[in-house]
Point group: C2
Chain length 330, copies 2
Amino acid sequence: MTGTNFDVLGIGNAIVDVLSRTDDAFLAANGLAKGSMALIDDDQAVTLYAKMGPGVEISGGSAANTIAGISSFGGKGAFIGKVRNDQLGDVFAHDIRSIGVDFSTAAATSGPQTARCLVLVTPDGERTMNTFLGASQNLSVDDIEENQIARAHTLYLEGYLWDPAQAKEAFLKAAKFAHKAGRQVALTLSDAFCVDRYRDEFRNLLKQDVDILFANEAEITSLYEVSDFEEAAKQAQIECKLAVLTRSEKGCVILKDNERHEVPALKVDELVDTTGAGDLFASGFLFGLTQERSLTDCGRLGVLAASEVISHIGARPETSLNDLAKSHGL
Amino acid sequence: MTGTNFDVLGIGNAIVDVLSRTDDAFLAANGLAKGSMALIDDDQAVTLYAKMGPGVEISGGSAANTIAGISSFGGKGAFIGKVRNDQLGDVFAHDIRSIGVDFSTAAATSGPQTARCLVLVTPDGERTMNTFLGASQNLSVDDIEENQIARAHTLYLEGYLWDPAQAKEAFLKAAKFAHKAGRQVALTLSDAFCVDRYRDEFRNLLKQDVDILFANEAEITSLYEVSDFEEAAKQAQIECKLAVLTRSEKGCVILKDNERHEVPALKVDELVDTTGAGDLFASGFLFGLTQERSLTDCGRLGVLAASEVISHIGARPETSLNDLAKSHGL
């Protein structure tokens, strides 16, 4: 697209993941809802961390993972998010810049530490997340530059951004700038509990400010407060310009105007860790859109990227998604 | 053994590893000697890190990895090493304590940051290490308590400890306390370049203060300045009480008095990352000794632990070595 330097610009919480293997009994004993994301404060983070087994620190953050995927596909990504000027902040900044992503948000020099997500991975590969938002909470409208937003083909926002109070304003400002420049705005609902916290705001947002919606089954049924996926899909087809609904091993459903496309999931040899599955699906789909591929090809690219990230520990690709796409004839 | 609370007490540099995949060209372009450990200062660490790809942070440190292995075998381990009171120091302390290891060395409250090792892993699974010693350099005789040393069946020391100037004194003091209490002192030579830096001191140490020596082929030939492994082995048999020489895919050679035992290596399905292979070999061997197993059984336990750690990223076991030993009839 003329006038763009970036394929996708993501705005999200800048988080370092602490991944640790555990079992269902540990989740139950600590009252953690399997497969979901819970917000925890500093004290809770200290307490839970002390109970957890040894961990592995890897850069994460939902939209940041998606942008890492864009880069792996060979696209040009940019990311806006807030770290503190501490060791984990350095790790986050290094990791995302080292893969060619533009990341220039100023690190906070005071206030809480860089955000951490304590990710508990059970033997079935499912991840249960506990996020200490830390410095992410300081992302504000001051971190949004119109000129940068205008230069990205697609602006991508995570629903989790609704949790830090100031970030929501940054989110809305960025969406306004994007539309003013004639760009697309994409949103992921992030988590069913997150949808529950901000249902009405999200529904309004989808009607007014969002061109592309990503949601999984739990999120879309929570959004429309229905128990049946098909009912939710029907509603999404009416209220969203383009809705991309992921269904884990059932693949995805893409809804646009009166069109409906389904793309099956790929079989994975060994499901190791589902962390990042949704984030990387969005990478593939959005990369496809920037390349003006058909909606079903976009879905196939999403499914492919998701299948790579769930085959190993961590939420960012370990192999070149560009090579992987080629080897799959995409 | 009567009067002991710990099977093995390790003293070493307390390090967080930053593992990153790279290729041989990157090593060559940056003048890095493949498979070895180089010491780097803060500036060099910043420069190399900036050039590296995205990383994964995992607790490491040679002796610390060995003690983690002791714990995984079901033994009781203790570790002495110095971190700074910073985020990576918290990570190191959490990870080692969370597996039941006694770690009570006070963190430094000033001075350099917690030690980091930039570990570059090439496609053949070989690791090339660049260590910023940081807070490790502040380990001193004040961190050694006679009472704790006396309560461990075996004291285990890494040759890398010779690099931070003060740590050597701590090392010698600990060895004295161990022998005074009638305990065993084990040493690993750590790295061929490390041997080259301290050859004479190590040779004296082996004659006087060390009961069990661990070395790989490059280290033992460097120690005795010979090119042939068998010549080095002959020398070790004369000068060491018990020498355990590891030879990668050729397994290990155990030399004691006039005895010589050989244990073959185990076939590994996929060699992913050799980081920690020597450290975990020592875990198995030392754990066997604390259980009064035969020398060949000790070697088998060492080989088994090494085979586990090279089958995944990171230098600490991901599966229970106790279960693994049982499933191998050990």
